[in-house]
Symmetry: D2
Subunit: 148 residues, 4 copies
Amino acid sequence: MHALSAIGRFEGLEHHFGLRVYFEDTDLTGVVYHANYLRYLERARSDMLLAVGVDQRATFESGEGAYALRNVRLEFRAPARFGEELIVISRLVSMRAAAVTIQQRVMRVQTIVATGEVEAAFVSPAGRPRRQPAQWVAAFEPLLWKGN
Amino acid sequence: MHALSAIGRFEGLEHHFGLRVYFEDTDLTGVVYHANYLRYLERARSDMLLAVGVDQRATFESGEGAYALRNVRLEFRAPARFGEELIVISRLVSMRAAAVTIQQRVMRVQTIVATGEVEAAFVSPAGRPRRQPAQWVAAFEPLLWKGN
Amino acid sequence: MHALSAIGRFEGLEHHFGLRVYFEDTDLTGVVYHANYLRYLERARSDMLLAVGVDQRATFESGEGAYALRNVRLEFRAPARFGEELIVISRLVSMRAAAVTIQQRVMRVQTIVATGEVEAAFVSPAGRPRRQPAQWVAAFEPLLWKGN
Amino acid sequence: MHALSAIGRFEGLEHHFGLRVYFEDTDLTGVVYHANYLRYLERARSDMLLAVGVDQRATFESGEGAYALRNVRLEFRAPARFGEELIVISRLVSMRAAAVTIQQRVMRVQTIVATGEVEAAFVSPAGRPRRQPAQWVAAFEPLLWKGN
């Protein structure tokens, strides 16, 4: 696979990823359907991983494994609407042998729309927890959030 | 609107809702994509509300308001795969003037696949918290989980 | 894998599959978001296949292959709304060595909401067209629609 | 609402819109789930409309109406996979009083992945066909594809 380019960018230790709300994201109440925030968060994480050189696709296709979410906590603060431009800000708050934890918040200009924290465990193709690739750990190292 | 029929059923205070995993629910790792569990949980909650006489559509269309999720906690215990039949078990653990909290678990026969707890606040069409319909409170009353 | 049960049923050569519209299916205009009809159609086809003994999961997991859509035609006749119960009626109108064509319509009581026709080709895991399993062809044979 | 910026750009009469395939877009066969192409096509159309000054949100919120799809034709030519960068190319091939028709193709570098043609009718909030806003017609005029 050729090298992919990340769409977002880092500002310090935080990764910023912009996106827009489309029809597909809304529900009849006129705001973003709650489950779709998990899709936003994952797009941002995938882009963050790409930016630090973590190639999820090659690792999965080689049969080594993939991240599977273990825990998710979401808090919804304000509704987001069709056409709005949002930004997902992600930071790595924990890294263990077989898992990482990433805190994320979805912002609309200066309003927090949603916050999330996900713990992703590295699992073998058969679904068993497994030590994540050393090169991924190395890639994440410099990103680890020291608190603010 | 004519009366709708619920698809699930109550066993005691717990509401059971069956569903199947389709192609649309999976991702390339072969298991249910994590965000789709939120869709499963919501289908089950909507059916539960219907079963106790809470008509979300009429209430929304009348301009009174709708539930908006405030907090979500998900824990993923085991992967679910294409074709599997799952059951979502839901129970009401808290009811306040303007919000309800529902605990849910997704089961595959005797394996817990995921658990979730969502807090849904009743909001006006403009998105402000609002006391929920008295008739909904009355409908929920007998369902309130007393602990186990 | 244990035997799964189909949810829908055949009435003559046509397969009937009921479903309900949930929040996840709607968009801000208050009706079912168009792409979601493709999800409804696929749920109905998967159930239809299951009912005639076509086990898509086992065939995919064995490495033999899977159906991939080639052509889709959709016509939207009437909006469907949150809470409505719909029925997807499917019939097999063509079967060739490596592909099948299924016509489907989504009904709300007596109103056609959408119609679709999809051609699904059987492809190898590498994505190449391939003769579909003989046992699938045999299972489909009796279903072939003779025109009406 | 403040002015939004389009993400894609026009090359002559054709609108180019880039996107990436995320986990949410794939299914267990490892490629993009077919219904998700309709989501891609709609993102591209929404961006195209934005670029020519058609503000769908303001028009919907004012109670004037919205586009509803009438017909969709999709042809799938090649699978797209996780991580790939795709481009959706859209052109306006027909404009009538109450509807527009847009042809689209999804490309992976030089491979066509899918083609689509959608006819979108302008409908009132009650769902009735209605003459589309004169300013939208004026915005589309210069885009009309003259054949190639």
